[in-house]
């Protein structure tokens, strides 16, 4: 079992495209399910280290520990769900290429233990994200993709600058080695490096001050793509950002700054969504809000809170995917994603799915989102961060206001169209909601996984060279 499979198998599938160009949707499902299975089989062999070395400086190191395993499993799961969702819509070459590449990119990002490799996977995932944005091939799509590229190119400039400065000052790129020697760098340069990395990852991880592009991009892309962005892309960058943060032992004041940024992200996003009438933008803002909470929680570098944040990443990813896929169904039917479409259809199952996933997103019991939120709140309270508790609770009300405004449409209005939802889609969406309900009612196993992951993330998993 090699970690390289997570990168090589998708790439192989891409190279062999000409062989099965008519069955890409099926191949995509098979590929993602295979990767999910592979990820699940890794459970008992953690942590895993994989080194492909020509000579020492040229080594490519992949590491899979508890935290990255959790995310990898999540990513492959979401990829599988999304590809299963697209099964009904037949062959789509552009989607296959872009999404498979995105899978490579995000898996590589969390597996890489080498800053330059991280940069490469950063770029791969970015390029595939640009492609995904442009998938609809209309003015909105291209406009969005161009915006995205401008911001993305800017981000990669700063990431590159940071990496270059690190190599110039200590001559290593392996994360473990950097962690050991980072203290040797002159403090001012240290700060510059951290700042460059922060700008680079922060833009992609959609943190406040750097995230003003996000709503437009979600609006420009398909709803089903939105699920990938929100569940995979931003989370992988966020993970790398905090992985580095913990490894480089940043100062408490810098952690505090990150927490502040997280809180700002949360507040700004929830308030922005309050007036929005474009459902994709609303979901984008809600994603930003959750990222804000996750950032806030992770910034405390506390085992319990980090576990809670990981839990939130998981539950949010599943809930958001369900919501975006359901929205995709609506968008395909109405050719619009304005929030009024929620009042224009009648499909009890779909409405139920949207309502329940929305409740989980809001952190309302008995869904898994509640467990995550409760853990975050109790974690914050046990660190005596009562201000943060109050903030999260207060601003969650704003979140509730706009989410429930969407849901209200279900029981209101007249002249609704009956919307046909295929049984396969029902099965898929139902599975996601069951997942949320199941982990909401029996959160213990998932919480334990998250705790183990948080411990490994905070423990600073140096890989001996």
């Amino acid at each position: 079992m090699s970690l390289l499979y997570f990168v090589l198998l998708p790439l192989l599938a891409l190279f062999l495209m000409p062989l099965y160009r008519k069955h890409l949707h099926i191949i995509s499902v098979m590929l993602n399910l295979t990767l999910l299975t592979l990820a699940l089989t890794c459970t008992h062999t953690l942590p895993m280290v994989e080194r492909v070395a020509v000579d020492l400086p040229f080594a490519i190191t992949f590491v899979l520990e508890r935290a990255s395993w959790l995310l990898l499993t999540l990513f492959t799961l979401i990829m599988s769900l999304v590809s299963l969702y697209h099964l009904r819509y037949g062959n789509d070459k552009a989607l296959f290429v872009a999404s498979t590449m995105l899978g490579v990119g995000v898996s590589g990002l969390i597996l890489s233990h080498d800053l330059f490799n991280i940069y490469i996977f950063f770029e791969i995932s970015s390029i595939s994200a640009y492609l995904l944005t442009a998938l609809n091939q209309d003015v909105k799509a291209y406009g969005g993709a161009i915006r995205y590229m401008i911001v993305g190119a800017f981000a990669s400039l700063f990431l590159l600058l940071g990496i270059m400065l690190i190599y110039l000052s200590i001559g290593v790129l392996d994360i473990g080695a950097i962690a050991e020697r980072f203290g040797l760098i002159e403090p001012r340069l240290q700060f510059l490096i951290l700042l460059s990395l922060f700008i680079g990852f922060g833009i992609k991880a959609e943190l406040f001050g750097l995230n003003f592009w996000v709503a437009d991009i979600y609006q420009a892309s398909r709803s089903s793509v939105g699920s990938l962005f929100s569940a995979l892309l931003s989370k992988s960058y966020l993970f790398v950002l905090f992985h580095l943060t913990y490894l480089l032992h940043v100062s408490p004041s810098q952690l505090f700054f990150l927490g502040l940024i997280g809180a700002l992200t949360f507040v700004a996003a929830e308030f922005s969504a309050f007036k929005s009438h474009e459902s994709k933008r609303i979901f984008a803002f809600s994603t930003l809000g959750q990222i804000g909470i996750i950032t806030l929680a992770l910034s405390y570098a506390d085992a319990m809170l980090s576990a809670a944040a990981l839990m939130l990443i998981l539950t949010h990813a599943v809930a958001k995917t369900a919501l975006f896929l359901a929205l995709d169904l609506l968008e395909r039917h109405f050719h619009s994603s304005h929030s009024t479409i929620f009042a224009r259809f009648h499909a009890p199952f779909l409405m139920g799915i949207i309502a329940l996933a929305g409740l989980s997103l809001l952190g309302i019991p008995p869904f898994a989102g509640f467990v995550a939120k409760l853990s975050i709140l109790t974690g914050l309270a046990s660190l005596e961060a009562y201000g943060a508790v109050a903030l999260i609770l207060l601003i969650s009300l704003i979140e509730a206001a706009y989410l429930f405004r969407l849901l209200t449409g279900f029981r209101q209005g007249t002249g609704k169209e009956r919307l046909y939802v295929a049984w396969s889609h029902k099965l898929l969406l139902g599975f996601m909601v069951l997942l949320l309900l199941g982990f909401g009612l029996m959160p213990e196993p998932l919480l334990q996984l998250c705790q183990a992951a948080a411990a490994s993330m905070l423990g600073g998993n140096h890989v001996p060279l």
Partner: protein
Amino acid sequence: MFHFEATLLAHLFFGLSLLVILPLLRRRDLVLHLLLLLSLGILFYASSLATLFIGWEMMGWSSYFILASSARVATLQRYILFNLGGAFALLGAIALLYGFMGSLEYRDIDASLLPPWAMNAIALLLFVAVFVKSGIIGLHDWVVDSYSEATPLFSAILSAILSKAGIYLFIVMFMVLLKEGATEPLLFEIMAWLGVITSIVATFKAISQDEMRRLLAYSSIAQIGYIITILALMQGFALEAALYHTLIHTLIKLLLFMNIASIIAITQKERFSELGGMIYHAPVLFLLLVIGIIALAGMPLLGGFNSKFLIYTALLEEKRALLLGAVMFSSASAFLYCYKLVYGIYLGQRPQEASLHVSPKSYYLPQLLSAALLVLLALLPSLPVGYLSVIGVELGFAPLDDSNLFILQSAFGSFHGGALMGAFGVAFVALLGLLQLAHSKAKKVKDPLDISYCGEVPRSETNLHFGYGMGYELHRISFIAPLLRHHSRVLWDRLSLIASDFSALLSSLYSLSAQHVTLLALLLFTLLLLGGQ
């Protein structure tokens, strides 16, 4: 200690109300109603704060979705936001408690470990949760609209059952879990006065309503105001009084809302101004409503007096004279809306045009059941006392004496329900007999318009039902008018306006062009570089 949850309130709410109403429901909402039932179960049988909260929130959202089929969007927004606001306050309190206890299980909570500031903060947060759910004045906006816009049957559930959740929460948190906590007594003092002020203001508001269910909604707020006041005493006998009143109020509101549901089904009308004179079309409903309002007014001869009596004597025992005066004032003012309710619907002249339908027979069952229980409780006022005392005893309070079921005992006196009923019955029958046996014969008028009308004869188009506007003159009384003129809604609307302005400002950031976004990022970089050194 903790099988408390499984006793009175659970039995009461499950056994009595929901099961009576459930068979009546439209099929498509059945799942949601079952969820609501389930959430109550979770709430009552919880053994940890997390489970309690799950029940609390499920109750909120399942009722929201039931409500959503009939209410306006603004009402729904208000409903869910107030409810979630309360729920999040509860969540804040739970998080705070966890910060000190490290566990959410009931058995692990020891409030004596809490420093005073934390205990007070928790108490305040819990107050918010309790007050929102109970519709304490200022936080009551959601109650009235949702009661009046729900389907008639769901109004009954909302008022009879869900409105009591706040009381349950208070008892569980303050009297069971946080009993040892060093809560500032001033907080309870404020709570007591808030409760009674709520009941006074709500009573006046109720009197000036023109819609039946809005009147009853304000009445519910007022009744729960008493319960809040009495609970704030934090005494065993007060707890029993509060629980007794909860029981009575549940019965009354079930009866009244079902009665009104019947009327709405018959006439398709909601306002007093469009109703009137129903007594001779629906005499049984009239009698049931009369039983309801007499109990609601707290008069002897029906169960409503029992709990009022316990409340008053509890306040007397604590020597809270002014508080008691205010409660009695509010209670006396309630006569006005009680009469308005019965007059506006059943008495006076019947408006011309209306066509009548038939009320579903199934609506009668809960009404008859409640009415029968109210009469039974009047006869045997101590019947539920033993049951109520169980809770108090579990919490370490002395039980009330219920050796004679006819007599309701309290430290400030007692009364004999049977004697009251008997005396009234004998007097009533004797006087009725006297009247019947009189030489004089009663002659029924042929035309209902044959009334003394300043020497004139009113015509059919003359508006003779203007009595429905009773209570309007309260607007002319200097110290009541401001209460009726001002609405806390203005405050909340302004708050939401501020939020949406802020929202517009922030969301404009998210529509910036890519260049501006990069410029901002660069600025952030520069600022941090210069400032962060």
